[in-house]
């Protein structure tokens, strides 16, 4: 019988060790936390190897040091900064309009169940309509102008925020509105004190999803229509087979995209903390 208990205890030990090992990675959601800096080494290794093993004259994979020379020449001949500013202007204008319109329309649709049902299929269709397909139509209506570019950015990036706010507005509990009505606090304060605080997380989440899409849409318009901006510079670099320039612009735009994401996330967490949720 002694051997039996020994087997049992060994079994339990095995189970315990597997339990602790499973606990180590289960149930902890750090998908939103910034991952540790250590995780950057595969990328750095790749770049270092590329620099060491690559050649400067390769027409497809020029080594990273040549990227720097080409971005430097773009800087010197004065195309980099104005183009970047043009792209950012389209992006920021588009994002502001998107946020305001998306929040308003999303709230209105979400609060009226009839409008919600009626507009549902149309909204769904507009959401799945791929952004690149809308550019030629936008050119038709707005010509090759910045207004057109902003229009495309708004039309293509409004859906995440609109639909997210709609979902949040739909979930505003009716009891809270009843309380507001019983207390006679008036429509203005109902919106500012009851509805808005409940919608804010949805708006912020929608904004976080929308911001990168808006940046991509600004670049997309420039890339397809060749109106001023970094997207157009990128298209020209490709047309003229300047691979190093393409890589360097990708790096610049990635940095811009990271900065945008960080700013939006910081704004989100700050506003959320101030709203106490």
């Amino acid at each position: 019988m002694a051997s039996d208990t020994a087997v049992k205890s060994r079994l339990m030990d095995g189970v315990k060790s597997r339990l602790t090992s499973s606990r180590r990675f289960q149930g902890q959601d750090n998908s939103r936390a910034i991952p540790p800096i250590l995780g950057l080494w595969p990328l750095l290794l790749l770049i270092v190897l590329w620099q060491l093993l690559g050649s400067s004259s390769s027409s497809y994979f020029p080594r990273p040091s040549t990227w720097w020379t080409s971005i430097d020449s773009l800087w010197v001949n004065g195309t980099l900064v104005p183009s970047l500013l043009a792209t950012l202007e389209t992006f920021i204008l588009g994002l502001i309009i998107t946020t305001i319109l998306g929040t308003l329309i999303g709230t209105l649709i979400g609060r009226s169940s009839f409008a919600d049902r009626m507009l549902g299929p149309l909204l769904e269709y507009c959401r799945v309509l791929p952004a690149p397909a809308t550019v030629p139509l936008a050119v038709l209506f707005g010509g090759y102008s910045q207004t057109m570019a902003v229009g495309v950015v708004v039309f293509t990036s409004i859906w995440p925020i609109l639909l997210q706010v709609r979902a949040s507005a739909r979930a505003v509990p009716g009891e809270l509105l009843d309380v507001a009505r019983t207390m006679h606090i008036g429509p203005r304060r109902t919106v500012t004190k009851v509805i808005w605080p409940l919608l804010l997380p949805g708006v912020l989440l929608g904004l976080r999803v929308t911001a990168p899409i808006a940046l991509i849409s600004s670049l997309l318009v420039e890339l397809i229509t060749n109106i001023g901006g970094l997207g157009a510079v990128l298209a020209q670099a490709q047309d003229n087979y300047r691979a190093a320039e393409v890589y360097s612009l990708i790096v610049v735009l990635t940095v811009v995209s990271v900065i945008v994401t960080v700013i939006v996330s910081m704004a989100e967490s700050r506003l959320r903390r101030r709203a106490g949720r």
């Binding site: 597997r18 339990l19 499973s22 606990r23 990675f25 289960q26 149930g27 959601d29 998908s31 939103r32 991952p35 540790p36 800096i37 250590l38 995780g39 950057l40 990328l43 497809y60 994979f61 009626m118 549902g120 299929p121 769904e124 269709y125 799945v128 309509l129 791929p130 952004a131 690149p132 397909a133 550019v135 030629p136 139509l137 050119v139 038709l140 209506f141 639909l163 979902a167 979930a171 949805g202 912020l204 989440l205 940046l215 991509i216 670049l219 997309l220 890339l223 990128l234 670099a237 490709q238 087979y241 691979a243 393409v246 612009l249 990708i250 735009l253 990635t254 995209s257 994401t261 949720r277």
Partner: protein
């Protein structure tokens, strides 16, 4: 968002041994509720609104209120579409884009699922590579279109590569989030049963991550379709994107509208295709996931972007 629930009755379905979750709640007890759900699935006001909208557009075009220089009438768009199908340009273009998107997406999904499960389960792997993935994910995918057109040329290969790139990151991120959602209690029970690691992933981790993975697949499909269209517009001389560019240059508005509108239909079809396939292949998981597979939920803090 419309209800993503299936309308299939679940009575008499054999118990799925792969579903390690608690059995899905019985929902067929109330016939009236069932009828209401089917009714909700059809959405009459929404369909009626679309019909009215198209009718108004047609009436406006006929009356000359809507300028035909920017908005061709729906009738002319439909006739043009029929003509294009007859001429044999429409369906091959749609087929080309569909092929490029689906193949690229499938590659992206395969890579994304494998990486997502690995990084979601192993803290070591996550620590050592997640920031690299985050940086690569931050690369605006649209900027890679010129690069890949440069490297791979105006070919189907560059479309595959772009669609795969567009799909892989949403799938990775949502798979990691889903895997992390697996409850420690379920994991412990599985460990007690002494099942193998592969069986554990298949029977415990996968069902927990399922809803999140579906969201990743849907977002990835949208990006994949968009990227194949861009590469067709900018270079590849085939597919819907190429036709859109062509019709825009020749100012054939009914044809332009026809190709643009079909991209939306394609997007809708692919999206519903994912949900429909999931409902057929994993009926229990899908029913259990319920609204969790929707892209927009009223509980924002638990979502990743």
């Amino acid at each position: 968002m419309r209800s993503t629930q299936g309308v299939k009755l679940d009575q008499g379905a054999p118990p799925d041994r792969d579903a390690a979750e608690a059995p899905a709640p019985r929902r067929t007890s109330n016939l009236r509720e069932q009828a209401a759900r089917i009714g909700r699935h059809i959405n009459f006001p929404g369909t009626a609104f679309l019909v009215v909208l198209v009718g108004l557009w047609q009436a406006g075009s006929s009356a000359g209120v809507v300028p035909s220089s920017t908005f061709p009438s729906p009738a002319s768009v439909i006739t043009q579409t029929v003509d294009l199908i007859g001429a044999g340009t429409f369906l091959p273009a749609v087929g080309h884009t569909l092929l490029a998107t689906l193949v690229g997406w499938a590659i992206g999904v395969a890579v994304g699922l494998a990486l997502g499960v690995w990084l979601g389960l192993s803290v070591q792997a996550w620590r050592n590579s997640m920031l690299t993935i985050e940086v690569l994910r931050a690369v605006p995918p649209i900027t890679l279109v010129p690069l890949l057109l440069l490297i791979l040329g105006f070919s189907l290969n560059s479309e595959f590569a772009l669609s795969a790139y567009g799909a892989v990151f949403p799938v990775i991120v949502y798979t990691i989030a889903g895997v992390r959602r697996c409850s420690p209690a379920h994991a412990d029970v599985a460990m007690m049963m002494g099942i193998s690691r592969m069986a554990w992933i298949r029977k415990v981790v996968f069902p927990s991550a399922f809803a999140s993975i579906i969201v990743g697949l849907r977002i990835g499909m949208g990006t994949a379709l968009g990227l194949s269209l861009v590469s067709e517009i900018l270079g590849n001389p085939s597919g819907i994107g190429y036709e859109i560019g062509l019709q825009q240059t020749s100012l054939n508005l009914p044809a332009l509208f026809s190709f643009v509108l079909v991209t939306g239909a394609l997007g809708w079809l692919l999206n519903e295709g994912i949900l429909g396939t999931a409902r057929t292949v994993f009926p229990h998981l899908m029913r259990h996931a319920g609204e969790e597979t929707a892209l927009w939920l009223p509980t924002p803090p638990s979502r990743v972007g």
